[in-house]
């Protein structure tokens, strides 16, 4: 079964986490459509096609995998911005973070997050979680109209 793989925006400031996520996705051939933003500002630059992302293909990612603790603009602020923008608000956002602090959970859901995943400390569990996230949001889930599909 060759499913269509859609673009994922990974917002993560820690290069090690980026590497580990990409390795986990690569294992299941899910990594080729991942765009990495290293902080909240870059994530917004990507979403609004500005800065380094001026020339990117149009359309929203199929999912934004969003860390919460980020330099400059934090994850909750990015989420708030996405949800308050007419063109972005339908984009699925999954918080992927280290913490299961209740106030983060409450705030994220209040702002309309689609899912909240705590990165497991155990690497096997981490790989499984990332793989399932990639498969579900990148392949199985049908994103809202206007999302970027895979270049065919």
């Amino acid at each position: 079964m060759i499913a269509e793989l859609r673009r994922i925006l990974l917002v993560e400031d820690d290069p090690r986490d980026v590497e580990l996520v990409l390795i986990a996705l690569e294992e299941y051939n899910l990594a080729n459509e991942v765009v990495v933003a290293n902080d909240g500002e870059e994530a917004l630059d990507y979403l609004y096609c500005r800065g380094n992302f001026q020339k990117r293909p149009m359309g929203n990612p199929a999912v934004v995998l969003l860390d919460l603790k980020l330099p400059k603009v934090n994850g909750l602020e990015v989420l708030q911005q996405i949800r308050s923008d007419e063109k972005l608000r339908m984009t699925p956002v999954v918080v992927v973070t280290s913490s299961r602090e209740e106030r983060d959970l409450v705030e994220s859901y209040k702002l309309g997050v689609n899912a909240y995943v705590v990165k497991p400390v155990n690497f096997h569990e981490f790989v499984d979680a990332v793989k399932e996230l990639g498969a579900f949001w990148g392949v199985i889930n049908e994103p809202p109209p206007g999302s970027i599909g895979r270049a065919k």
Binding site: D14, R16, D17, L20, I23, L68, K69, T97, S98, S99, R100, E101, E102, K119, P120, V121, N122, F123, H124, F126
Partner: protein
């Protein structure tokens, strides 16, 4: 002197304010009796004077009589005025004293309130700091751990063929240690959360709660011979989910420390049912503990058994104690080496009107 004058002035203003508030002068209401007494004394005085005058000076002239009358009236009026003024002064002093005392009391209450507010502010600040601290631990400490575990696993996977037995074991130890530290951090965060979350108190049946906790742990009891004895228990007033954690921890401990037993015996019941509180116990026939370490039993990350013998981080009983203390109860334990252990805790009973 100036200060005193100022205080006096202030007091007079306050008395005036009191007077306007009561819509009549303070003196008038309270001076009716001395005034009436004075009038009576004057009436009686005048009568006595008339009688005495005619008895002593039957043929007195009109001028003489008038002079004596004026003199006598003046004396009586002076005496009466003296009493009225004195009474008025006393009343004024009493009012002033009352006002001063009330003001002192008000100032004391104000000061106490300020002290209280200051302490609350400090507590709130400490709580905020603690929250920030645990938030930071939760976020920042877990990430490097995940990386250590992750890269160790990747190395094991990519290079395991070129590594010798010993090196492979080293990698395994790194992974295991990272995993264990993750568990410790999670436990510590949970412990700190118990102290910070607000309690949701309700009245509920304890027996039902024990059965639920027992059911949740049924996997750990699978395939073992265990005799359960759960006595009748009354209703309590407390945070249901926190008290469930108490039973979960105590029963989980009982199961864990009876693993060497051929037949585990776990008894849960109520020892005393007093007017205000009840005492509950969880007893097992497991490996027990030495009473000389009793002080360490409820401490955070304190363990009386090696990790190799019994798994665990040593947070369970610390959580039990913290939850029970938050409910206003106490914890205690009894045990002996290889003689089993009994853990007791008390919790307040629901009040009648609840």
């Amino acid at each position: 002197m100036k200060e005193e004058n100022k205080v006096d002035q202030e007091l007079i203003v306050e008395i005036k304010a009191l007077e306007t508030k009561n819509k009549q002068p303070i003196q008038n209401t309270k001076l009716i009796i001395p005034l009436a007494v004075t009038m009576l004394v004057m009436l009686i005085g005048m009568s006595v004077y008339q009688i005495v005058k005619y008895l002593l000076f039957p043929d007195i002239t009109l001028i003489q009589s008038n002079i004596i009358t004026i003199l006598f009236s003046s004396i009586v009026a002076t005496i009466a005025a003296y009493f009225v003024l004195r009474k008025q002064q006393l009343l004024l002093q009493k009012t002033i004293k009352e006002i001063v005392e009330r003001r002192r009391a008000e100032e004391e209450v104000k000061k106490l309130n300020e002290d209280l507010e200051y302490h609350i502010m400090q507590l709130e600040a400490a709580n905020k700091e603690l929250e920030a601290f645990s938030y930071s631990v939760s976020h920042d400490l877990r990430a490097p751990l995940r990386h250590i575990g992750g890269y160790a696993d990747l190395l094991q996977k990519n290079a395991s063929s070129v590594l010798n037995e010993k090196s492979r074991r080293f990698l395994m130890e790194i992974s295991d240690s990272a995993k264990r530290m993750g568990e410790l951090i999670d436990d510590l965060l949970r412990y700190s959360r118990i102290g910070r979350t607000e309690m949701q108190k309700t009245v509920f049946n304890l027996e039902q709660l024990v059965k639920e906790a027992q059911h949740d742990l049924s996997e750990e009891a699978d395939g073992r011979e265990i005799s359960w004895e759960i006595g009748p228990m009354p209703e309590v007033y407390g945070d249901r989910s926190q008290l469930k954690l108490v039973f979960h921890n105590l029963i989980s401990n009982a199961l864990k420390f009876t693993t060497p037993c051929v037949r585990a015996e776990i008894v849960i019941g109520c020892t005393s049912d007093k007017e205000n509180e009840i005492e509950v116990f969880v007893r097992d026939n497991g490996v027990g503990f030495d009473m000389k370490y009793i002080d360490k039993l409820f401490g955070v990350f304190q363990r009386l058994h090696s990790a190799a013998k019994f798994e665990g981080t040593g947070i369970g009983l610390a959580n039990v104690q913290r939850i029970i203390h938050r409910h206003g109860g106490r914890t205690r334990a009894e045990g002996s080496v290889d003689g089993g252990a009994t853990f007791y805790f008390s919790i307040p009973k629901p009040k009648e009107d609840k």
